[in-house]
């Protein structure tokens, strides 16, 4: 049947894919950043299979509000339906495949195809076909021609995710403790809303180079030296290269970056929220690191110490202490679209809200003083991966390998504490090989590595 369900034989065998990253030595084969066949497998085996961030509930307050997002390169319409639920629909007409919705966001009563006028309800049902009784002579079963829906749509703390795989684990289990800690960071100061305006730009880099960079607290001092010199941030107050805390979770979830020492957190745990707020304001270093008591529920007794960068596998980065989220959307092996969502607590006082929004504008996004200097590192690393000889030179993810240990803390939350290193990057690529090598969820579950314990 010509319905696109016949499997396409992978050009890469599973063993060859697994060999692209060697967790024992930390060497990464740079073809992962350039190979077109691997990219096609990523679309199938990571993006269509995994859970993808769609939107936050605050972006779609009313019935008919919609926001366009992507699952890999598949464009989807996220829309608040008549019943109040958020539907995720493939943005491709069931007639000839045209995009139904060509705006980025807006308000709709239904979605009408601009090609022949097929009309779909907010739940994706096909409700109108011009010429149904005349040209089709009544011989068209509309009930079978609704828009294709994401197999599952679920939310956590108001953040909606979707997967095209019906056999995917629940979002709760997919996120696991580490992913939930990451999203918990965003809500650690109260219920949040997304500020109007998603910054979007295209960088000619492989999406994974953008992702592995978020765990990289080694590059900040050098790549972003000019932002430090300009005075927009104080590297010494932010980096803490000797107090790092990395958390690695199932399915490739990870958090990397600085963490408060346990003794410091114990001191904070004894404070009232008012005392914490005053303490947080006392230094730039403490501001986003000292959280109210409720944060412990969301991030766990160890996770609450993190001031690092969570990544919700595969491509959602949480930064600025939880006030920004950046999606890295693949656009071919050597292009990535970056979407910046800025998130603030709903009850944040207006002056503080303005400060957070300004900081987000000034630090990240294409004009941000930090972000400006990242793109070219990523695009030049990607470009070199296309050269026949250059790509044979591996990428060295060697830092800290064999020198650290996973400690088990309160509630069983595990972390690697110590010097700045590349544990999270290694975990990301190791998980990536397992995702891409496995043909389906059952095989992934049977073959994936559990998060490391003991010496790492």
């Amino acid at each position: 049947m010509a319905d696109g369900t016949q499997p396409i034989e992978a050009a890469w065998a599973a063993d060859a894919i697994r060999a692209l990253f060697d967790p024992k030595t930390g060497w990464l084969d740079r073809r992962v950043h350039s190979d077109a066949a691997l990219y096609q497998l990523e679309l199938e085996r990571i993006f269509a299979r995994g859970w993808n961030f769609m939107c936050h509930e605050s972006q779609l307050p009313n019935v008919g509000d919609y926001f366009i997002n992507y699952i890999g390169e598949d464009q989807v319409i996220c829309v608040r339906g008549e019943d109040g639920a958020i539907n995720v629909l493939l943005n491709t007409c069931r007639h000839r495949g045209n995009a139904l919705c060509r705006a980025e966001q807006g308000r709709a009563k239904s979605f009408v195809c601009s090609y022949h006028g097929w009309n779909y309800g907010l739940d994706g049902r096909l409700i109108g076909v011009p010429g149904q009784s005349t040209y089709y002579r009544g011989d068209l079963d509309r009930s079978r021609l609704g828009l294709v829906k994401a197999a599952k749509v679920e939310s956590y703390l108001g953040f909606y995710f979707a997967t095209m795989a019906g056999d995917a684990p629940s979002l709760h289990d997919y996120l696991g403790d580490v992913g939930r800690t990451g999203l918990g960071m965003v809500c650690a100061n109260g219920d949040v809303e997304v500020v109007d305006g998603i910054q979007k730009n295209v960088i000619d880099c492989n999406w994974k180079i953008a992702v592995d960079n978020l765990f990289d607290w080694y590059h900040v001092a050098y790549s972003h030296a000019s932002a430090g010199a300009a005075g927009i941030f104080d590297p010494a107050a932010i980096l803490h290269p000797k107090d790092q805390m990395v958390m690695l979770g199932d399915y490739g979830q990870a958090i990397g970056g600085p963490g408060l020492r346990k003794a410091e957190q114990a001191k904070i745990d004894r404070m009232s929220d008012a005392a914490r707020a005053a303490y947080a304001r006392s230094s730039e270093s403490l501001f986003p690191r000292v959280r109210p008591a409720m944060a412990r529920e969301l991030m766990g007794p160890e996770g609450v110490r993190s001031m690092g960068h969570p990544n919700i596998f595969p491509n959602l980065w949480i930064t600025l202490g939880g006030s920004q989220m950046c999606l890295r959307l693949p656009r071919g092996p050597s292009a990535t679209e970056l979407w910046w969502f800025t998130v603030v607590p709903k009850d944040m006082p207006a002056p503080l809200r303005q400060t957070v929004i300004r900081a987000a504008t000034h630090l990240f996004g294409p004009a941000g003083l930090l972000e400006q200097d990242d793109g070219e590192n990523w695009s030049q690393s990607t470009r070199a991966a296309s050269g026949f000889s250059s790509r044979k030179v591996g990428a060295a993810l060697l830092m800290g390998l064999g020198h650290d240990e996973v400690s088990v803390g309160e509630n069983g939350q595990r972390s690697i504490e110590g010097l700045v290193g590349e544990h999270a990057q290694r975990w990301f690529y190791r998980s990536w090989t397992e995702w891409v090598a496995a043909r389906d969820w059952a095989e992934l579950e049977a073959t994936r590595s559990p998060p490391p314990t003991g010496a790492v």
């Binding site: 060509r102 998603i198 300009a230 400006q372 793109g375």
Partner: protein, 186 residues
């Protein structure tokens, strides 16, 4: 001032007579061209010297929306933007460029600021509001070519010896920014 201003091709502006208006048009254009030339010549310190202390330099986010949702096309003041700068922030941008470690501008970009369709919208109390169309072409490294096109609403304040830029609101025609960054000043 984010919506398109009223456009009346045949309106005879009130106020100064034609000769005075031509003179003002000339003065404003020459200022804008020279200001653009400073940026193209990478004379950022000199460019800062043209800014009023209370300048607001702002580029909202533009979105592709349907005709019925045009009220959503640009983000509003106070929401997210690409630039939302005061003088201090612009000084920081220049300081960054001068730091010797601004890798995104070393090797430096080559830029060309084209300014055209200069229309004086309002003259009031020593301030002139002017709308222009711009094309900021940027190329860098060997083959990187990009740029930004849009409409700009500037406010020039008359001071002794010329003008100071008191407002620059930049309305791009692009929605998804097609460049690796925006490390160039508009």
């Amino acid at each position: 001032m984010d919506a398109a201003t009223e456009i009346r091709p045949n309106a005879r502006p009130a106020g100064p007579d034609l000769a005075e208006r031509m003179l003002l048009q000339y003065e404003v254009e020459q200022f804008l061209y020279a200001e653009a030339a400073l940026l193209d010549a990478r004379q950022y310190r000199e460019w800062l010297g043209l800014l009023a202390d209370d300048i607001h330099y702002w580029m909202p986010i533009r979105r592709t929306v349907t005709l019925s949702d045009l009220d959503l096309e640009f983000t509003k003041p106070g929401a997210m933007a690409y630039f939302d700068d005061d003088r201090g922030m612009l000084e920081m941008r220049v300081k960054k460029l001068e730091a010797g470690s601004a890798w995104s501008e070393d090797p430096p970009s080559r830029s060309r600021h084209f300014v055209s369709n200069v229309r004086i919208l309002e003259v009031a109390e020593g301030e002139i509001t002017v709308e222009v169309a711009f094309h900021l072409y940027r190329t860098r490294l060997n083959t990187e070519v990009g740029g930004w096109v849009g409409r700009r609403v500037d406010r020039l304040r008359r001071v002794e010896g010329g003008f100071r830029l008191a407002m620059r609101h930049i309305f791009l025609d692009q929605t998804v920014i097609p460049t690796t960054n925006m490390s160039t000043l508009f």
